[in-house]
Point group: C2
Chain length 765, copies 2
């Protein structure tokens, strides 16, 4: 039995990439140059819906320094996307303001943009439809004329029987919630570099967060076999789900590289990033729910309309995640969920951190507060009454091996002094200018991936060099979430070497073993497990070598902090690097290389959307305290108390960073962020008019990690990537209600909206 020793797990390590990023040495797509590289630019539609009558590129082609000009007719314009409804360039009609009409490769980016400006496009306008409800009506203008209507997808889920649930209810409420367009605001704008070698092999430097599916998909779109494509991920300046799909600019750049015979870089400017990168799926949610007088939830019935914009990206699939919240956040015996996805001439949505769950949780947790109020119960008590517990299998088939929801609720409430602060603003204080309030919300999210493909696994290759340095080649990607660092800690702890001895390498499909990519808060869980298993195999080999060299049974030996130690006393016997060198350069002449492939024990859901889609689930509760300036409508978040069931903390600094980032994103969603879209046009494509939370506006964030020790997770860990963004906005709205007695069902709570509501005595629906 090994002696007690200090563990690396749960300590705080700065992210491996922090130094280079802080020093300005990290190489983003913007920094990378390739020999003989050209620069690309895209001419986009300035109409939301129009037929293209004529394109004249002659002036652009005549500009000195322009090497290639492409329009749809010049390329094999292969349809792509979830609905196979998008193409790289648009030849016959445009369906959104952002639509790609022509592309230029030139010696400089300025020249390429100038050439785009010289391209003349003649349009024939078509009726513009930007209201999903209008677009659903019979006779509405068809966005895709090969379809019979504008409704490409529909989701129907249920468990139990909502009619039975409603009949058993003592109270029933119905509310409509409306969630706005927001966008990821990655500080690194979108970009790609495409280049072909002499054998028609394509290498792309990409910001994708799913390199293997990117490789497969881009190959198909540009007419190559997948084995001709190598995807190299550069340092990614923010992804948050936005890089989960392929967008037209990417195959366009490949076509420019092919046509010009030179490498081509195509990078968005900030305005383009706002206009032409994906948004978070907006949502219109009508939720009907009931409870008994004792506080037991009886049913939920959610009806949603999803504005799909002109083309189908991941936004259309957010119902997969949304329905889990309706079905399984709290115990509800009868649930029905319906969502219709509708084409319009608006921008289209992708995936974004939380993936539908911010929208769903806003509805569910706003409604929870309203139900509690109607029941006359404390919102905390009401939630505790209905909280999920470990061992639960929900109506949708999710299995909660670990579940810290009750603990999260109680811990967050205690940390926020819930019972003292709740309800301080009775009507008696309505005359005060600054009014404080407190609100809470909880979350359920996948915490170890989601098996939406036939594999959700990850491979690892581990090698140790002659100096004891461990290189872990992982299939997983680092997109800023800190997973590399977590994987390094897991590897170091498993092997018994210092954290500094581990390098994590990834970012190149030619080298990496397969991984499904960054989604569903899976990386620490899945890639961490794979790394741990590869490290266990290496540890076994090292102990065997040490046993051989020291002539001692291997079970009398341990490895710790880079040394082979006595398993009993912990005493250092020999440096691990010496053992490795003797293994390599002595009679055995061997080196340590191990591999692993880990597939989580999750299943793909059936056609009724049922099944245990993730090996583990994350829970959490946020309590938000706000101060409302009733004279100006400004809502100032004062404190967020966050409790997260993380299974086990691997890297405290990294996990806290995820909570801070998630809170900032969630509060921005609740308070200030909105991509204003009118008639399909983005009105605020800049950081002046699109307001992110800034550091000075951030409240105190108190973080509690509930360590439920998941038996499947690496060292007990579960995912934390998306969870912290989910609760802030409903907790905030509930806090504002507590402060001023007005319940907002539409975000963001801008000063204008809040002040109007205060003046009207109610929120505008």
């Amino acid at each position: 039995m090994a002696i007690e020793r200090e563990s690396l797990i749960g300590k705080g390590f700065p992210k491996l990439d922090a130094w280079d990023k802080a020093a300005g040495k990290a190489l983003y797509i913007h920094d990378i140059v390739r020999p003989r590289m050209l620069h690309g630019a895209i001419l986009r539609s300035d109409r939301a819906h129009a037929r293209i009558v004529r394109i004249d590129t002659s002036k652009a082609r005549a500009l000195a320094g322009v090497r290639t000009v492409l329009i749809a007719a010049d390329i094999d314009n292969v349809p792509f996307g979830h609905g196979r409804d998008n193409t790289p360039l648009k030849g016959e009609k445009v369906r959104c303001i952002r639509d790609e009409i022509a592309a230029v490769a030139a010696d400089t980016a300025d020249l390429a943009r100038e050439a785009c400006g010289l391209i003349e496009v003649e349009y024939e306008d078509l009726p513009v439809v930007t209201d999903a409800n209008e677009a659903m009506k019979p006779g509405a203008p068809l966005i895709h004329e090969n379809r019979e209507d504008n409704m490409p997808f529909r989701y129907d889920y249920s468990h139990g029987d909502v009619a039975v649930g409603e009949a058993e209810s003592d109270i029933v409420l119905e509310e409509s919630y409306s969630l706005q367009y927001v966008t990821h605001c990655c500080l690194g704008t979108s970009g790609i570099i495409a280049e072909f070698d002499a054998n028609d092999n394509l290498t792309v430097h990409s910001v994708t967060q799913v390199p293997f599916s990117f490789k497969r998909d881009i190959a198909r779109i540009v007419g190559l076999l997948p084995d001709k494509v190598r995807v190299i991920q550069v340092t990614i300046g923010g992804a948050f789900g936005s890089k989960l799909d392929i967008y037209p600019y990417e195959p366009i750049c490949v076509h420019l590289a092919r046509a010009s015979g030179q490498p081509v870089k195509l990078v968005f400017d900030r305005r383009e990033e706002f206009v032409a990168s994906p948004t978070r799926q907006p949502a219109e949610i009508t939720l009907r729910a009931g409870a008994r007088n004792d506080g037991t939830l009886t049913f939920r019935d959610a009806r949603l309309v999803h504005d799909n914009g002109g083309y189908t990206s991941w936004g259309a699939t957010t119902p997969f995640v949304m329905m889990q919240t309706f079905s399984s956040l709290y115990r509800v015996p009868h649930v029905c969920f319906e969502c219709t996805v509708v084409y319009t001439n608006n921008p289209y949505s992708g995936s974004m951190r939380g993936y539908g769950n911010l929208q769903a949780t806003f509805a569910v947790e706003s409604m929870m507060d309203a139900l509690a109020e109607k029941l006359g119960m404390d919102p905390l008590a009401f939630r505790l009454k209905n909280a999920q517990k470990p061992g639960e299998k929900t109506g949708q088939g999710l299995v909660f091996r670990t579940c810290g929801l009750e603990d999260c609720l109680e811990t967050a409430a205690a940390g926020a002094a819930w019972s003292e602060k709740r309800g301080r603003n009775g009507n008696k204080r309505r005359e005060q200018r600054y009014r404080r309030g407190i609100g809470m919300a909880s979350l359920l999210h996948v915490g170890g991936g989601a098996k939406i493909y036939h594999s959700d696994g990850c491979g690892s290759i581990l090698k140790i060099d002659d100096f004891g340095v461990v290189t872990l080649l992982t299939g997983s990607s680092e997109i800023g979430q800190g997973s590399e660092t977590a994987i390094a800690i897991i590897t170091a702890e498993t092997l018994g070497v210092p954290f500094e001895s581990v390098r994590v390498v990834n970012g190149d499909t030619e080298l990496m073993p397969w991984d499904v990519g960054v989604h569903a808060s899976r990386t620490t869980f899945v890639a961490g497990n794979s790394a741990r298993r590869a490290a266990l195999k290496a540890r076994e080999k090292l102990l065997a070598a040490a046993s051989d060299q020291l002539d001692r049974p291997s079970d009398s030996l341990d490895i710790y902090d880079g040394f082979v130690t006595d398993a009993q006393s912990g005493e250092r016997i020999i440096g691990l690097d010496k053992v490795i060198r003797k293994l390599h350069f002595g009679e055995r002449n061997d080196v340590v290389i191990t591999t692993d492939y880990y597939e989580p024990p999750s299943v793909m859901q059936d056609k009724y959307f049922k099944g245990n889609v993730s090996p583990a689930y994350a829970f959490g509760t946020h309590v938000v305290e706000v101060e409302v300036d009733t004279w100006t409508g400004v809502v100032r978040p004062v404190k967020v108390t966050a409790a997260h069931d993380i299974g086990r903390v691997i890297n405290r600094m990294g996990a806290e960073g995820q909570v801070h980032g998630g809170v900032a994103m969630g509060l921005g969603y609740g308070l200030s962020e909105e991509l204003k879209v009118e008639e399909g046009r983005v009105l605020n494509p800049n950081f002046q008019d699109y307001r992110l939370m800034t550091a000075t506006e951030m409240p105190e964030v108190e973080i509690h990690f509930i360590e439920t020790q998941d038996s499947e997770g690496p060292f007990g860990a579960k995912g934390i990537g998306e969870a912290p963004a989910i609760c802030p906005s409903p907790a905030l709205a509930n806090a504002v209600y507590d402060a001023i007695g007005i319940r907002f069902k539409r975000l963001p709570l801008t000063p204008e909206r809040v002040l109007t509501a205060i003046k009207q005595g109610k929120a505008t629906p």
Copy 2:
């Protein structure tokens, strides 16, 4: 038992990198740019031996665009090289014309060179010693003043007893041979890019052919732990051994990067490449040898002086290889070899294809011809009489598991019509202007590495993606020799997939498993064996998966051409990619990743230089036919007939390419190449005055491969990299003797030298 099927082994495949190289798309160090990169240049000494009194860098520092100027005093000038007698910058004295005195990093390469020109150096001249025999004398000026004399190394080898051998001889000859300076003439000049990240991790883009020892050595020289260094090999525009060592420009560039805080690229121009890259070790060889009247060799006694130049690089170690030729090319019972290595103020030598063996074989094979003549034997018959045979263990301890020397001799002679053409030019034809002659020479060289370190092994990692594409991550390096292609063939054949399905990845120490580097004609043998073993493991896993999926015993299945086939009938059952996808995405959820580390069964030689240093040995014979223009002295090679014991041909096109390249290099050595060095100064640093063989000057080359099927080699193969360069020059000199009756003991056979000899009736010694 599997049915007969067509094998990939022995076919001809263009090199994997041929397309990009031919299309100008390969990225050499010259092409690579890094963000914010500066350009470095070096100020070199123009004195061969002098004390540095003063360096004034003020004008260089004042030049706009200059970022860093370094002299020896600015850096920790760590000694390096085999004698630890070199330093990056020279502070107190210079010992060669090329010596590095100062270095500049600037915004452009032109600016950096201009700044070098502005640095003022005041010297105090010291007596220059450029004759090794002079340098050996007591009282000679000391090149390294911390030493007692100029003789840092000495090699003494013997087996048998030369005195006994001489006593048993019927004839004894003694001759002196003199081999000139030549240099590698890599078309890609030397270069490096060094950059530090924010954590003081160093990445170098390098042309090294030994990345792992480069990593270890450069770390030490620049004061880093080896684990802080990542070496990325770029496409290498020729190496031929020249990149086996570290040279001062490399740590200098690292120091420039560190001092400037930016990436720095330092690339030689052609003149600098001639002056400051290594040479082939020149040699002065006195050889005494004897034979009995029946043609049996009795003894060899070789005495050598090696001009070491000012510092010790690999040239000083060429006696290791030379002595093998003296000891073991042909059966000789009594051999003595002595070599003294002597410092001078000349340029210093590195390793170069053949590594001492061109020099040694020139002496041995010239002497063989002279002995045959004295014995009145046909040179072919004399060689056959003394040829090594399979199973032989030589006096030095080399074990010839396979040995095709007799076959090579007979095949080359037959191909060249030896018996008809030999001796056509009796004295009767002396009046002819153009006179033809034919000569031969054989070779012995290591054919599977040389264990000069404690490991001569190579690691491999193999992964197969969902499309059936195999990536082999090998530790071995591609330096133009075509080993990647050979490894791809070995992998494809072993796995049963098409050649096109295999990608070979290497060139990055962070990713590659360990390998000792490119030397000693080892890569196909050692890395090929490692790849084969990794592929065998993958094949086993694939057959198991297919067996599982098809519900058939795995020994009833085979894999061929990317399909699982019936082992009996050869009939295709299912595509391998489908089996792989079912393995990955079906219930098993697994992927194929395998690893291997192969160490050849060779040993390090003992202190008497004895032991079986390589797992296999290459043999070969070249017959060269020449036409001598007796009016001008021009020697025109008419035909080279080459027979090589290659074990087994893996890639016929690649192996033939090696023979063509080796013949060109060997003929250049014999005919035209000479780096003219006077008083330590290179007089012909350009391709106008330094004459390489060009395509139009190349003779017909007839190639025969003798396939001896080495049981340890991959599919029976042995190395071929160096061998073809070894024989041309002695065979050429022997042919010239056959043509004009003059025996040359000094190379190259330039028109001037030949014409002078014709006029004098004998060669100038």
